[in-house]
């Protein structure tokens, strides 16, 4: 049986930086590229999937992150539980695209504060100079050699997605790095 227990990280506060776990959250991976896929996804999510690279779209409690030209991550808290069933029925079963519930595969860590990018820059090859001044931008990169998705939803408010099996290691690394900013 799969271990779907989520990690339990306590909220941490450092100078101009606050770290907390944003779980449980609902996460769905959407893949598709034809016109019907976009129409169905837009209708069910009430949101147009972003087609511009490294961007995101959001409405109420749903966020749609661009991952690649034919892949998106939908996430949020308190999402209607019928959404996944509806997406499966309207997209997956009709073979317009694929719908995968990845809620248990990714863990979201929320970063708040002015020092977010000081910490991230310590372990990432990505150049944050342009990224940190924009909101609703997304980047998939490495942090301490671990694959992460970064969603800069508001200025100095960022959600970091990491695979569950790497989350504890990364959480410890982030905390260790945050102590020396």
């Amino acid at each position: 049986m799969l271990d779907i227990k989520l990690p339990e990280f306590e909220k941490k506060v450092y100078p101009d930086l606050e770290l907390s776990l944003l779980e449980p959250s609902y996460k769905i991976n959407l893949r598709g590229k034809n016109r019907d896929f976009f129409t169905k996804a837009g209708k069910l999510l009430s949101i147009m999937l972003p087609i511009e690279s490294n961007t995101s779209a959001n409405i109420k409690n749903i966020n749609a992150l661009w991952l690649s030209p034919d892949e998106w991550l939908i996430y949020g808290k308190d999402i209607d539980k019928n959404l996944e069933t509806n997406l499966n029925n309207e997209i997956s079963k009709l073979k317009y695209g694929s719908v995968t519930n990845v809620s248990d595969q990714w863990v979201i860590i929320n970063f708040k504060g002015k020092n977010i990018f000081e910490v991230l820059s310590k372990g990432s090859p990505f150049n944050f100079n342009n990224f940190k001044g924009k909101k609703n931008v997304v980047v998939q990169t490495l942090l301490n050699h671990v694959d992460v998705i970064l969603h800069h939803q508001e200025i100095n408010d960022l959600n970091l997605f990491v695979r569950k099996s790497f989350s504890e290691h990364l959480w410890l690394w982030i905390n260790d790095s945050s102590r020396f900013i």
């Binding site: 690279s53 490294n54 690649s68 090859p125 990169t141 490495l142």
Partner: protein, 91 residues
Amino acid sequence: MFLINCPYCGERDQSEFSSGGEAHIERPKQPTELSDDEWADFLFMRKNIKGVQFERWNHSHGCRKWFNLIRDTSNDKIHGIYKMGEKPPKV
């Protein structure tokens, strides 16, 4: 270390990418008609020249898309990047 301009995500560090070796190697249309040497030649033999080379790269820690890249292997200077299925630019 060098920067690669992913055709989907933009400029990123080389550490986010994986090299897929020489590009534009066509799979033989009738593999069963080939000799063992010809098949091994298709599978394993790559040029790996010093100079301008056409290569396949994958943005493995980003969008996970494959693309082609023209790189000078002697100094890592990139002469062109184009998507899969597109014709290579003249160098």
